[in-house]
Subunit: 363 residues, 2 copies
């Protein structure tokens, strides 16, 4: 069951909560913008459903809500930023703005971030580049849930990659995906419905491919994009590794099995080699290569060519990456954001904890 | 059947052939270095087996062996280069050297290339960054063989991505893979053996998943990494699209269905919107982020952690991307490069055509 809430009511609620846990009003607004962008785009697992998780991280003092986010080192086109244990929802926009500023002055900007926390959806930060006629890139590492090809152990996070590309009159291209076959959220949906997972999503603790939607709880692992060796799982593994290296090692954050978990109840790994979790943000100014107008004309032609392709049986459209999310955003901005009962209950608990009004549903 | 040849004999042969078709001695050496690196690393489909293909492209005047490769536009960290219809084997090293030079001066360098031809293996160019303590990135687009999710038509090439990362005492990390489930070369191997392809590699002309190793000849398509929607094919599709955009659209080369084919017998697409095929080369200087020594220490720890993982049943190792290729390179440098009889026959035909000595096998 679910109930719909207006964007503004959920945004206002989240912003108040972030202020309650110690954020400045500016940071609380930024964090809410980041968080709610996931709900708007239909990535429900990464939106306000996680608000309670951020509160719990603050309660166990794993999030600093008054961080001194700062540049540790920089060159004209690169930088390392420390998030000072701040919310990734606030740290990532800071780093992306820095990447964009560097792209303005020298063509491109690349910022690796350490000592941050989970940042919600990667696409949000990649998309910040679009209004500047830039290509935006965002990645983050995360605690290990994915087993590389031939590994029985989880060694990498679901480590997402997002790339946003401006178009002319067409909808911008926004790819945003985990480098595993599926995210943990998709397994949780099946669990709630009591269904099995398709073959090729997970493996057991011993490393045998299985169909148990509770594999992760039983010590199993998600499989890298590709699924098995014959279908290119070493490619998904390599992609997840690149995200880990760019986000974790280039910045001096943690990496591989040492990335701390989002869940406050889980222990932090021993002997962590770095600080917090890592992100990687990039921006390339289109007219640092060729005229933005000419580029966008070609992007429009690319998009139209793909959209006009003959479809496979039973399908009516070939989608451009980001197209479904854009349509969902338009629908939810007017029709409201549906929240599962369990999420509403979580928000009610937060409201009680901080003596706040709970958001009112619109249906 | 196959016969082994020394690296130096094949390199010398290729270099002479490139001179015969009009390359300068320097360019012929560069092209041979690029080409043979594929044979050394075990990517046999992209090595000297393609020499005859390059000769045929020259015969139909689709390759300019005296190109004026030049920078069309640049900023401190970016550039567009035109290959002037030159061999990709020569154009790509030029562009990668430019990316490296920019990374020396301002932290990173990103070069999009137009009007080039096929460049062999992407990993070769990414690896040029390693000796400078830089991360190297290389991509190229190619003629359309891959059908995006829900498309019955081929819209994208197998568009590979390579990322090379320096390590300390461990072997460098070198990922290099097509963004389709498999490359065309893997289907050809099955064809020669009269075998079927595994489910999830290809689809028919109508867009139905099939197991026919001759699907491409019958108008079918390769599937994007992930295979089908339930297993994340939209992620492989998005990756292939990003390569196409960075290589083709950012430079002003061709893209999507307009990328000209490598095979000289196939017609060039009508109404091409750009020039030739496109590449994208990038370099990031490690110490533009943090000390290269500290980075490499962490990379070594990352590599050792992954290699020490408990393996799935029947497997003895978890491989680091590039590890198998490095081992193959060492073996072939001493033991020779095995060439299939059909490839030897092609080399013999080239030798006759240009009145040259054919390379002598070493066993």
């Amino acid at each position: 069951m679910s109930k719909c809430f207006s964007y503004s009511s959920l945004h206002s609620f989240a912003q108040q909560v972030f202020v309650k846990i110690g954020c400045t009003i500016d940071d609380a607004k930024t964090a809410s913008d980041s968080l709610l962008s996931a709900d708007l785009r239909g990535v429900d697992s990464h939106g306000i459903a996680r608000l309670t998780g951020y509160v719990r991280l603050w309660e166990v003092r794993r999030v600093n809500t008054k961080p001194e986010i700062r540049i540790v080192y920089e060159t004209p086109s690169t930088a390392v930023v420390t998030g000072d244990s701040g919310l990734g929802l606030v740290v990532a926009p800071f780093a992306m703005q820095l990447a964009i500023a560097k792209a303005h002055t020298c063509g491109s900007g690349w910022v690796s971030v350490k000592n941050s926390n989970h940042f919600g959806i990667a696409g949000r930060y990649a998309m910040m580049a679009l209004q500047h006629d830039m290509i935006g890139i965002a990645m983050t590492n995360a605690s290990a849930l994915v087993a590389p090809t031939f590994s029985a152990e989880r060694l990498l996070g679901t480590n997402p990659i997002a790339v946003a590309v401006p178009a002319g009159t067409e909808t911008p291209f926004v790819a945003d995906f985990a480098t595993s076959v599926v995210s943990k959220g998709k397994l949780e949906i099946l669990q709630r419905k009591g269904l099995e997972a398709p073959e090729g999503w997970t493996q057991t603790k011993e490393g045998t491919s299985n169909t148990d939607a509770k594999s992760l709880e039983k010590g199993g692992a998600l499989l890298p994009l590709g699924g098995n060796k014959d279908h290119g799982s070493y490619k998904g593994y390599a992609l997840g590794a690149v995200v880990d290296i760019f986000s974790g090692i280039l910045s001096g954050a943690n990496y591989a099995t040492w990335v701390p978990p989002f869940t406050s109840l889980l222990p932090v790994p021993e002997n962590m080699p770095g600080e917090g979790i890592g992100h990687f943000l990039g921006a390339m100014r289109i007219d640092a290569f060729r005229s933005a107008a000419a580029f966008k004309k070609d992007m429009d032609q690319w998009i139209r060519r793909v959209k006009s392709a003959r479809t496979t049986e039973g399908q009516s459209r070939v989608y451009i990456p980001g197209e479904i999310e854009k349509e969902t955003e338009a629908e939810r901005m007017t029709g409201g954001i549906p929240l599962a009962d369990s999420v509403v209950a979580d928000l009610r608990n937060i409201a009680v904890k901080f003596s706040m009004e709970i958001p009112q549903g619109i249906n």
